[in-house]
Each structure stands twice: as C-alpha cells, then as structure tokens.
C-alpha cells in the first residue's frame, strides 16, 4: 500500500539527495524563514518542507498533481489534519509498546508484542477507513481520489476480520502444532508452524475413522529445565511467524510513516497559507511552463520571506520577461534589487515543489537546477583573496550548471575594479547567453551593463530599481537602461545627513 500523495507513482523519499548547493541556496534565499513558517516549530515538518522545496521538480505533471492535492487540502483542511493526526498517533503509540522486559530475544515475546501492535494499527486503519467513507466525496484531486479508493479496496471489513482470526489463532489456545524433520544427528530440524485445524467431526465419523497413532508425554512440574526447553522448542516453531508478523508491523508502520511524511508537506503549505492570509498577502497557483520555452511573466510578486518577517505590506512587482534569457538589474542602492532577485528564486522554488506562489500571478518555465551567486563577506578562512573566492564559487557553478538551469547573480565580480569586473562579467555572460541559460544579474558594473545595452539585444531585459527624482525609493523594479550612478550619494546623505 502506498499513499502516493507526492508523486503519482512513487514514494516521497525523505532521504533523497538534495542539490549540492543546498546550503548556498538556503543562505542566499533565506529559506530558513520559509521553512520555519511552514514548520511552526515542528522539526519533522521543517525537514519535510526542506526536502520538498529543495528537490526541484522539473516535470509539469507532478507539479500540477501536487497543486490539485494542495487545493483539496485548502478546501478540506480539517479532514487532512485529522488523517495526519491518525498517522502521528500510530507512530507514537507503536513506540510505547515494548518487548517483554527480559525476553526481547524470544520469538514468543516478539509475537505477543506484534499482536498488540497490530491490534492497535487495525484500530487506526479502521478510523482511516471511516474518514474515507465519510469525506472521500469532497475531494477532487487525482491524488486524494486514488488514496481513498485504495483505502476502500485494501481495507475492507472482510480483511479486518481475517486479521482478527489470525491474531486470535496466534495465541495458540489449542496448542502450537509444529512439524519437524530429523536433522543432523537425528535432532529435530526445520521446525515449521502448522495450522492447527480443530475439525469438528460428527461422532459417527469419529467412531469409524481410525485414529492415527499419537504419543503424548508430560513434563512434570518439578522439571524446570524441561519446561524451559519446551518453551524454546515452541519458540523455534513460531520463529518464522513471529518474524513475519513483526515485519508486517514494520511495514504497516512504514505505511503510516510515509503517509505522515507526504501529508506533512501539505500541512506545511497550510501553515504558510494561514500566515500569509493573516497578513492579507495574496497567493496564487503558478502556471509552470515546459523548460523548452523561456517564459517569465508575473504580477504582484513579493518576497515571501520579507513578508513573513515584516509587519507592513510589501511592494509587489510586475514583470514580463518572456524570451529574455538575461535580466540585468541595475539602479539605486537600497532600491529593492536584492529583494526582487530573491523573490524570483523563492517563487521559482515554490512553484517547482507544487506549492502556491507569493504573487497575484506567476507563469514561468521550469528549471532543473537553481544556482545563486551572491557577494560574500570577506573570506574568513583567509585561504584566498576575495576575487579568488568569488571566481572559485563561479567555477563550481559552471561545473554543475545545465542548459535548463536558472542562475541568480547578486553583485558578482565586484571584488575588483569596475573595468576588470566588467570584463569578467562580459565574458561569462556572453558564454551563458550563448548556451541559452537563464540568468538574473543584479549589478553595479556600469561599463558591463551599458555596453550590453548599447547592443540593443533582443534576449536581454534591462531592469532598474526605481528612484524618484527626490531620491525617494519606491522599491519597485521597472524596465530601464542602466545608469552611471547607483545613487550612493543618497545613501551617504541618508546616513550623514544631506549637505555634510
């Protein structure tokens, strides 16, 4: 039995390999803020959110599959939370059922523990069935429909009855029937538990069938050793059945674990949704476009992490950058360039794990990898100069980048003078452009951006952080040619007071 709520055809792998640059991404895009909002201080939810968000889905079907499940969750959040609670209960209660105190290694204690665990699981599985019976019709997504019909199909009343018969039989009220053969040195071997069918025969039948020969002996009460040996003999007989019952417990437990992990993602989404709704920030389900196209158009996109940490309403941006492979973002210091860049990265990640995005609308081609290259603090390890360090990170990216990657650069190559920085940037950008790799580049390198602008290229869009003539920032990113100044003077004035 599989829950299949993350993928149509496979389990959600919590241990899957995350991108190599997972840490860099988390740092540059402030992912911790996002995960924390989804987790609400629940470690497990945090972990699931992290794995789900960082394992970028490329395939549109799966993204849409999750989107419709998430829509169901938003509509039926109470039912979903109830199912989630059942999985938690199963996992918690299983932990509290112990093996016998001293007898952990005897099949009989493994067996009796397994029977107890199974009784408990059966109860919870029945609850799941009941939820399914009552609420299944309110769900529309393929994922939930399949899930409920699977519960229906696999967990019928008859099935529960069969389990009950076994659990009763395994208490061996009529004695354990064990077959054996003569092994090495005529010692009993191949002990196998057999079904002890107590056929009720009619008395006439009983009278006329010849009884097969049978010999019985008893162990005297004083023979403590004998009693011990006998129970070990029984243990040998039930070894296999104890094993398969214990394994069944493990399998059912892993079903609950899987269901919990898959639901945890949606629970995280519900948590985030609630917080954004409280702040009256809009969300919408994005439209993912196949990566063979180069599409990006968005409306009212805001930085979800900033929204989560700030109390005031955040400025959203609009952009239409279809068929633009390179976006060069210049303009005023403290004008919202970094925030804008981050909001693109976040929205892209959220879209590509099947979530809603923090925007009124968002339509974008999927990428298979996402890279960020941000200006770093001075190299703390002292092993290389700053430009060295920057370029070595760049070289790492180049090692791993694919044609369908998305690359976000924030003030890269500024660790040297502008002419040289521009030249490095020019060479790298030309190469990336030629490979048709999508890049967003926030930069102060005027020579670089100006040179590019003069060529009037079709596949590059030039964006600028807006500045009112009086120096006031609107935090809006608008289309516009690069300017020679980034209005650092404004910032100076802000700090030192104008005219100083």
């Amino acid at each position: 039995m599989k829950a299949l709520l993350m993928y149509k055809d496979r389990d959600f792998d919590l241990k899957q390999k995350l991108p190599l640059n997972e840490q860099t991404l988390s740092q540059d895009l402030e992912l911790d803020t996002l995960f924390s909002a989804m987790a609400l201080e629940d470690e497990f939810l945090y972990m699931v959110a992290k794995v789900a968000v960082l394992s970028i889905l490329e395939d549109l079907d799966t993204i849409l599959y999750r989107q419709s499940i998430l829509k169901d969750c938003l509509k039926n959040s109470l039912v979903v939370k109830e199912i989630y609670a059942i999985t938690m209960e199963a996992i918690e209660r299983e932990k509290r059922i112990f093996f016998g105190y001293f007898s952990k290694y005897y099949p009989s204690s493994i067996l009796s523990r397994s029977i107890e665990v199974l009784q408990m699981f059966v109860g919870l599985l029945k609850q799941l069935r009941k939820i399914s019976d009552e609420h299944a019709n309110k769900f529309e997504s393929d994922g939930f429909k399949n899930f409920f019909s699977m519960l229906d199909r696999e967990l019928g009343d008859e099935y529960f009855a069969t389990i009950q018969i076994h659990l009763k039989e395994l208490k061996f009220r009529n004695g354990a029937l064990i077959s054996a053969e003569l092994g090495k040195g005529n010692k009993g071997a191949k002990y196998t538990l057999r079904l002890n069918e107590n056929k009720k025969q009619h008395w006439v039948e009983r009278l006329f069938t010849k009884k097969p020969p049978a010999y019985t002996f008893y162990i005297s009460e004083r023979d403590v050793t004998g009693a011990k040996i006998l129970s070990e003999l029984k243990d040998r007989g039930i070894n296999l059945v104890a094993n398969s019952l214990a394994q069944s417990c493990e399998h059912i437990l892993s079903f609950f674990n899987m269901l919990r992990a898959e639901l945890a993602f949606y629970i995280g989404c519900l948590n985030l949704y609630d917080q954004l709704a409280q702040k009256r920030e809009p969300v919408s389900f994005p439209i993912p476009v196949d990566s063979s196209e180069c599409t990006l158009s968005l409306k009212g996109l805001y930085d979800v992490c900033l929204a989560l940490t700030k109390n005031e309403k955040i400025v959203g941006n609009d952009l239409n950058a279809d068929n633009k492979f390179l976006a060069i973002i210049t303009g005023a210091n403290q004008g919202g360039k970094s925030t804008f860049l981050r909001s693109i990265g976040l929205a892209q990640l959220m879209m590509q794990c099947g979530m809603f995005v923090p925007a009124e609308s968002y339509r974008s081609s999927t990428c298979d990898r996402l890279f960020t290259h941000y200006k770093r603090e001075e190299d703390v390890t002292m092993t290389s100069g700053k430009l060295d360090e920057e370029l070595s990170r760049m070289s790492f990216i180049i090692d791993h980048i694919t044609p369908n990657s998305l690359l976000l650069l924030n003030e890269s190559f500024s660790a040297t003078n502008e002419r040289e920085g521009s030249e490095i940037a020019r060479q790298i950008m030309c190469a990336l452009l030629e490979k048709r790799i999508r890049v967003f580049f926030v930069t102060h390198l005027y020579k670089f951006s100006h040179d590019f602008y003069l060529k009037n290229p079709k596949d590059i869009i030039f964006l600028r952080a807006e500045r009112q003539p009086d120096g006031e920032r609107t935090f809006k990113i608008i289309e516009g040619e690069p300017l020679q100044t980034s209005f650092g003077e404004d910032v100076y004035n802000l700090v030192f007071g104008a005219g100083n």
């Binding site: 090495k184 002996f217 892993s254």
Partner: protein
C-alpha cells in the same frame, strides 16, 4: 590382491620405525625447524613432522617422490586430493562426535553420517583418479588398490546400506503439538504452513526490506532430555527404520580401511609442501626437481634462496635476493667471505637447506639444480656468545669440530659458519687451516663462512664473496658471487650507516647544544 602400501615410501621397509623421531641436530642452524614448522602448522592432525625428519637414503626413493609430486602439479588431481582430505577430516569429526554423544539414536546417526561421508570420499576419489592420466608409480599403485577396494563386496554393500538408511531417515516428518506441559508426537499429515499463511495476509503492506526479527537459536550438537524423549517417540512411529539403524551400526563398526587411512595421512606430506612453495611461486620464485647423485660431487644450483628468510620477506613484502653456486671437477669447498650482513650466513643456510630438502625428495628453490645425496649433514654454527668464558668457547668450538670430523665420511656435507671467532686472528688462521686440511683430505663437500681470506687459497676451495653496491658501500646487494676475497675494510661504511664517522660525529657533537631547542629538519 593389489600390492600397494605407501605413497611416500617405495618399499615398506623404508617406513620410519620410530614414530617419536627427534628433529635432526642441524635443523636450527639451517633454520629448517622454521621451514618445517610453517609447512606443517596447518596440518597438525596428520602428524607429518617425522616424515620431514627422515631423509631418504637412495636415489630411486627420491625419484618415487618426485614422480608423485609431479603428478600432483596437475591442478585437478591436487584439488581432488584436497577435497578427499576434507571429507576424511569431516568423517573423523563425525566419529569423534558420535563417540562423545550420549543418546543412542543420536550417536548412531552421527556414525551413519560418518560412513556416508567416507563412502562418498572414496567413491569420488576412485572416480576422479580413473579419469586422470597418472604417471607416478605411487599414484598408479594407489589407484589399483582403490579400484580393487571399491569393487569389493564389503565396500559395495556398505555403500548401499548407508544410502538406504540415510534416505529412510531423511524422509521422516513428524508433528509436535505443544500445549501447556504436554507434547503430542504424531506423523505429519500435510497440515498447511501457517507462517506463510500469515505472511500472505499482510503482503499488501510490504514495501521495501524490513528488519529480520528471526531469532538465531544456537545449534548445539548435544540433545537434551526432551529432544531425546521426542526422538524415542518418533522411533516408535517408525520402528522398522530405527531397528535397521541399530543393526547397521553393530555390523559396520570397523568399516575403515587401513591403506586408505594411511594414504590420507601420507599424501599430506606432498600437499603441505606444495601449498607452502606456492607462496613463493606467486612471488615469482622458482622451484625445480634437482638431479640427485650419490657419486657425482659436481653440484650446482641457480637462483636459489633461503626458504625461511624468503617466507619472512614475502610477508613483509620485501624483495628476495637469489644466489647461484656451482662446484666443478676437483672443487669441493666454498669459502664465503665479505662484508657483514651481506648474506653470507644466508648463503650457507641455503646450501644446507637445498641438500636437505632434496634428500626428502622435494622440489627445491632454484631454476635448475644438481645436488649430492649425502650420508650425513653436519653444521657448525656459532653458539650463543658467552663473554665470561673465552677459553671455554674456543674449547667448545674445537670439541664440536672434532666430533664432526670423527663422524664425517667422504659422503658427508659440512657447513661451517664463522668458526674460531673467539681467539686471535693468528690462532684462528692456524686452527682453521688445520681443520680444513682434514676436510680436504676427506674430499667431502663443504661450505665455510669465514672472515679469514687466507682459507680461500687452499686447494679444492672456491672463493665466494658477499657484495655491496659499488657507488654506495653501505648498501648490501645480498648477492654472494664467485670472486677472489679482497679483504676490503667495510667498517667505514658501517660506521657511516650509524653516523659515526668523523664528519658525522663533528656535526652531531656541534649540534648537541642546539638540538635541545632547535628541531632538525
């Protein structure tokens, strides 16, 4: 009746009579004790050592072993013999177990299994040997005996009875019903496997691999009284089979054949030796079948090495130096001189080992060899230093030499290592010359390791010298080659090695003060 007795000895008369044979006196001097120890260590159950303590006295007996050894170089035959040995070993373990156990039906089954293994071992062996082309008198004789034995009524009947009984016992299947303190024993009547049934029920939850919860029950060979009681009841359910088992054990108590038992032990002499030299062959060292003569004293060996030292070096993964020697015409005595720790003693040991191993009929280290079949082998190696009693040591040296020379014949072999070191040079030259005169007179083969260059000027001698790398005299080549003794002083190079030359000392002394606080790079 087939006339075959032993795979080791051509004639039954040669069989060593004294089973408690001691190791020969020269064993530790030549490190043969180490060699034989490593050869036999994994074969202790066969008690092979005294075969290795018994050199052969005639050339044809040696050939007899060469033939068998050459046959065993056939990998198939070798593996067949190994597998036979493993089975006989298992058989012995079963018999031992049967002896140790307490309950009758259990003892009887172990015995039955032992016989089954024996029958299988013998049957396989005769089958395998028949399909191979054997060239040695030893193996041909043994195969003849095996064919005769396996066709005998005694063996044929043994095989049949054993098979029948094993099949009957294996077919027995019974059921126990354990309820509280009662155990009911019945024949098995195709009741369903309940574990499989339960597993099927929970199949739908199965995803991936689950932990194994099966408890491992230690298998003890003994039976407890409950098991014995159950077995007795099973015997009641199947009375005929168990009666047959009783009768079988009485009838076949002494089923083992002496000749086959002896073969099982003796063939291990070859197996042990071949397995041991395989280690060296893998390190690209050669072994050869030496030509052996009782008359011809022109001997040679090329690419020989000390088997004990090589074993140590191989485990340390160091390289092994090989040496050559030959004696022609009137040459009888090899005088070995040269720098210390240059391989002189090793050379002398190698010489002795080669001759001893050859006299056992074994292949010897080297590419090609002709060796002499001696009547006695004598060694005179320096005994442990005893500084307190100089005169005593010299006296002891002389007494030992006297003893050797009294017993040596013209067919003997003498190996001397650094004799008369505990006296003045002049004395040593004088005494050595005296001893050498006797040896020359006896016309026997001798190796003499000495620091006295003068000895190499005597008649019948050949001078061989341990060598160093010319450019760097501190590096030994461990090559011992034929050349005149040059008496060069190597003390300087040894001093250099220990940094005790003038320059070294000056530097070291100068640095004394500074080394305490300045680390040298």
């Amino acid at each position: 009746m087939v006339d075959f007795h032993s795979i080791l000895f051509k004639r039954i008369e040669d069989y060593p009579k004294d089973e408690a044979l001691q190791e020969p006196a020269f064993f530790s001097d030549l490190n043969l004790d180490q060699i034989i120890e490593s050869i036999t260590i994994s074969k202790q159950e066969y008690n092979l050592k005294h075969f290795f303590y018994t050199p052969l006295k005639d050339v044809d007996s040696i050939k007899y072993r060469h033939e068998v050894t050459k046959d065993l170089e056939n990998k198939t035959l070798f593996e067949n013999i190994k597998s036979f040995a493993q089975k006989i070993h298992a058989m012995r373990e079963h018999l031992e177990q049967a002896r140790k156990l307490y309950y009758k039906y259990q003892k009887e089954r172990w015995f039955l299994d032992a016989v089954e293994i024996y029958c299988d071992a013998v049957t396989c062996l005769v089958h395998n040997l028949s399909s191979l082309s054997l060239n040695s008198r030893g193996f041909k004789g043994f195969l003849g005996y095996l064919i005769y034995y396996t066709n005998s009524d005694r063996f044929v009947q043994l095989v049949e009875e054993t098979k029948k009984l094993e099949a009957d016992l294996s077919a027995i299947k019974y059921c126990l019903t354990i309820r509280d303190n009662s155990v009911k024993v019945q024949k098995y009547r195709s009741e369903i496997d309940y574990s499989a049934e339960v597993e099927k029920t929970f199949q739908k939850f199965k995803e991936g691999v689950a932990k194994d919860y099966k408890v491992n029950f230690p298998e003890q060979r003994d039976m407890n009284h409950i098991e014995a009681k159950i077995l007795d009841l099973v015997a009641l359910l199947y009375p005929d089979i168990f009666l047959n088992l009783d009768n079988y054990c009485h009838k076949n108590a002494d089923y083992l054949d002496d000749t086959i038992c002896r073969f099982d032990r003796e063939i291990q002499f070859y197996i042990a030796y071949l397995e041991h030299i395989e280690i060296f062959k893998r390190a690209k060292l050669n072994f050869c079948y030496p030509r052996i003569s009782k008359k011809n004293k022109e001997i040679y060996n090329y690419d020989g090495f000390d088997l004990a030292l090589a074993y140590k070096l191989i485990t340390e993964k160091s390289s092994i130096v090989r040496n050559d020697f030959y004696l022609k015409e009137k040459e009888r005595i090899i005088i070995v001189s040269g720098p210390n720790q240059g391989g002189k003693t090793t050379f002398a040991r190698t010489f002795g080992q080669l001759h001893y191993l050859a006299s056992l009929g074994c292949p010897v280290p080297g590419k090609k060899a002709q060796l002499y079949l001696y009547d006695h082998l004598f060694t005179h190696f320096e005994r442990e230093e005893d500084i307190k009693n100089l005169r005593g040591k010299l006296e002891d040296d002389l007494l030992r030499i006297y003893d050797i020379l009294n017993h040596a014949t013209t067919h003997s072999l003498i190996i001397m290592n650094e004799i008369f070191t505990s006296t003045t040079l002049e004395d040593a030259v004088f005494l050595s010359k005296k001893v050498m005169e006797k040896i020359i007179q006896l016309d026997l083969l001798c190796v003499c390791v000495t620091f006295l260059d003068e000895l190499s000027l005597l008649e019948k001698t050949v001078s061989m010298v341990s060598t160093v790398v010319p450019e760097n005299p501190t590096v030994r080549t461990f090559k011992v080659v034929r050349k005149p003794a040059d008496g060069l002083a190597y003390a300087v190079s040894i001093a250099e090695k220990y940094q005790l030359t003038f320059d070294f000392l000056k530097e070291r002394l100068n640095n004394h003060e500074s080394t305490s606080h300045v680390q040298r790079s």
